[in-house]
């Protein structure tokens, strides 16, 4: 019964489908940090289209965007909020500066990451949502 890529759990399928309907930029992430899906609003944040990239691994995300506490500082990647959500199984909400590397555009965003846990308390991944501060 081998398939090219194993079928995602129904919980992750439904999370992806929900994300595809939302106005808020959303990344759907697996337990390894790979971005399995991002919605159209997130395409604008990341500067790339999902149709072109498909899933993107952690290193590639870090090449696309950079998150930091300080607009003048560089280099805090997505790691901390995401790792906290995945490793400690708790939601994280933080204000960050997001630098889109391709065009060097800097955005002020709030970031909410929460773990996806099924009925059997199995960690399936996380959902990351960006709340952009327009005019910041």
């Amino acid at each position: 019964m081998a398939t090219k890529t194993a079928q995602q759990s129904v919980e992750m399928i439904l999370v992806r489908q929900l994300a595809s309907y939302l106005f808020v930029p959303v990344l759907v992430i697996d337990t390894t940090g790979t971005v399995l899906f991002y919605n159209e609003p997130a395409e604008r944040i990341l500067g790339v289209r999902f149709e072109e990239t498909g899933r993107i691994d952690r290193e590639e995300v870090d090449r696309l965007v950079e998150l930091s506490d300080d607009p003048n500082a560089s280099s805090e990647d997505l790691e901390r909020p995401l790792e906290t959500a995945l490793q400690q199984r708790r939601p994280v909400h933080a204000r960050r500066w997001l630098l889109r590397r391709a065009d060097r555009v800097r955005l002020q965003v709030e970031l909410t990451v929460f773990p996806i846990i099924d009925h059997e308390e199995r960690l399936l991944g996380a959902m990351a949502m960006f709340w952009e501060h327009h005019g910041a």
Binding site: Q7, V10, E11, R16, S20, D118
Partner: protein, 281 residues
Amino acid sequence: MKVTPYGVRGSLAAPGPATARYGGNTSCVRVTGPDGTVLVLDAGTGIRALALELPTTLSRVDVLLTHLHMDHIIGLGFFGPLYNSVMEVHIWGPASATLSLEARLRRYLAPPLFPVLLRDLPCRLELHHTGRSRFSIGPFQIRAARVCHPGPTVGYRIETETSSLAYLPDHEPALGTRRFPVDPEWTSGFELAHDVDLLLHDAQYTREEYPGHAGWGHSTMHDALAFGQLAGVKHLAPFHHDPGRDDAALEKALDAAVAEVKPDFPVTPAAEGRSFDLGSA
């Protein structure tokens, strides 16, 4: 294995002359293995007649519940083996996030909904949680996985050495998709149904009826056919027929869907008493 539906109707029993060809009982299917092992898939109203036809020599029976909506468990209290003290009955089904399978079943098998308490049943009863699991019963290798339907719901893939069956009686894999089918990786139930000899799959609605029922957990006939195509099944038996659709309307709607989709596998609407013999068993 031999697969015999005893109830193919969805949501509510619909007995009467208008539904006599396919039957009016709610979900219940008997699966018989090459060695005589019997599985019962769901416990709708069809289970009463199923029990009457079990061999008198049978000492164990396993009931696999997909979920605990009423049309899938309403027959449980009328399942003869539960009242037989020498019978070993195993009930498999999903727990919820906060309640065990036993606690969930007790909500039905207790007054005021039913006069007999679960704990008072004379058979040797064992309950097993099936969320996402693999297990064996006699010659059957069984895989359970959650599928898209409101509340904790699983589908089953049942295999012997020579045959395979997928049972997804309540399933809405197209929910939220802008087009269906989509990538197998992102399709609920795909791995359960992949390449099976026979798929029993929800086909409750017509395409015209679906917009008013999106999110209720059921498929259109078109989506059932498309899901079968995607999964590469060898034979599809549309299941969970709408209680409001009589035999003539059912055939007309299914014929139209098949003519449009043109599946590359045979399509036989599930009917009470119409068995499927799979593999050499």
